[in-house]
């Protein structure tokens, strides 16, 4: 039996493993236990960024211009809806569809490609949990306590206990 379990385990976690690392920087403003403003910045690792910059920065001016922004949004960022933007938002113990991100902006900072976007939704801090991770495990989402900026509440960052991929959980107290 152990033999079968071991192989089923290997079988399931077969071929994905993180190749891209994204640091998640959440900034959340809380008022009366309700989240008023939810803003995320994703910073990709330098090696992945070098590939993306080569494709995104068409005029090689070291900046992401308006047309380039649009291209990234349409061809890269929007497609992440299929992956729920690597973020599961659990409200009242139910995983919800990721709300349509607003005010998307891509920029280059310290040779890294960064995505900045907001969620326009008022959420109760006691009934909401954010889980960051890629179920395919091709991307590793990295969240540290020092990456969070919470105004009006306290962030609690913990490991996300999944069987086949690794992630982080953010709760507000």
């Amino acid at each position: 039996m152990k033999f079968i379990i071991s192989f089923i385990l290997i079988f399931n976690i077969l071929y994905a493993h993180p190749h891209t690392f994204i640091e998640v920087y959440p900034t959340i403003t809380v008022k009366n236990k309700m989240m008023q403003k939810i803003h995320f910045v994703w910073k990709m690792d330098e090696m992945t960024s070098s590939m993306l910059i080569m494709e995104f920065d068409l005029d090689s001016n070291g900046k992401i211009d308006k047309i380039e922004q649009q291209y990234i949004h349409e061809n890269y960022f929007s497609t992440l809806i299929d992956y729920n933007f690597y973020t599961d938002i659990t409200i009242n113990n139910k995983i919800t569809k990721f709300p349509n991100p607003k005010n998307f902006k891509a920029f280059i900072e310290n040779n890294k490609i960064c995505y900045s976007f907001e969620i326009d939704k008022k959420l109760n801090i006691h009934k909401t949990i954010f889980d960051f991770g890629d179920t395919d495990f091709f991307i590793a989402m990295i969240l540290k306590k020092e990456f969070t900026k919470i105004i009006g509440a306290t962030a609690v960052v913990s490991d996300l206990d999944n069987d086949f991929y690794f992630g982080y959980r953010l709760e507000l107290k």
Binding site: F11, Y15, T48
Partner: protein
């Protein structure tokens, strides 16, 4: 078990995250004055990165494990298999990276994703055939009552090639990063050292499954063909799983 596995996964991710950042910073700091020491440092980190990177899910460890658990073999063969996979893995990554970079230049990532998907499907079909071949061999050996079955080197090469043909995105990323910074030789050497690290980890997967087979020794001596058919079947299913997974992406 799940908690232990999750902890292990966290460590693998954390190490890779740190090494990934360290390797890119080190390559970027390369200059005429520190070229030798920094290059050696990069190669050292690349070896370590390969070792840990291959410990995560993937890289044909399951295939190697299935193969050795169902075929009597020795540790030397496990090392040979591990290194064959990693060498093919690295060559494939180098060809893909240099090819795509110089032929297509732009749309690198998109093309890489597409080509990687095609390579994965080719690999999956090959794995299916390897599984069918192993089942056939086991059935044949049962018929002629050959209890001492030696896996043919043909099937070993087939297993290594099936697993290795998918280029490792980890190796590709480092090579491409070096190309962008015009450190071509360092890119090739980093791919080689990373592959040496990966080969070691894949070999360990083979050795562990040989150990397992040895524990089931008496069973193997009498009803070995059942385990061989089971191993072949697992490899076959592995191929089907890979093929359908890639098709869904």
């Amino acid at each position: 078990m799940s908690e232990l596995y999750n902890h292990l996964l966290k460590q693998i991710v954390t190490f890779q995250y740190q090494l990934n950042s360290y390797i890119s910073t080190t390559i970027r700091n390369l200059n005429d004055e520190n070229i030798l020491s920094t290059s050696l440092l990069v190669l050292g980190i690349a070896f370590l990165y390969g070792l840990i990177h291959a410990a995560g899910p993937g890289h044909g460890k399951a295939l190697v494990a299935f193969y050795f658990v169902s075929n009597k073999s020795n540790y030397k063969k496990a090392f040979k298999m591990g290194y064959m996979i990693s060498v093919i893995h690295a060559i494939s990554a180098l060809i893909f990276t240099f090819g795509i970079f110089y032929i297509l230049k732009t749309m690198f990532r998109k093309n890489f994703n597409e080509m990687s998907g095609i390579a994965m499907q080719v690999s999956a079909v090959m794995i299916i055939f390897v599984g069918l071949y192993l089942i056939y061999e086991a059935y044949k050996s049962k018929k002629v009552k050959e209890l001492e079955i030696k896996p043919s080197s043909k099937s070993e090469y087939a297993v290594a090639f099936s697993a290795g043909i998918v280029p490792c995105p980890g190796v590709m990323t480092i090579v491409l990063f070096c190309i962008i910074l015009k450190q071509y030789l360092l890119g090739i050497l980093a791919a080689i050292t990373m592959s040496i690290g990966m080969g070691l980890t894949i070999s360990v997967a083979g050795i562990l499954s040989i150990l397992f087979s040895k524990k089931a020794g008496s069973f193997l001596d009498t009803k070995g063909y059942i385990l061989e058919i089971f191993g072949g079947l697992l490899i076959f299913l592995l191929g089907i799983f890979l093929f359908t997974s890639v098709g869904h992406k």
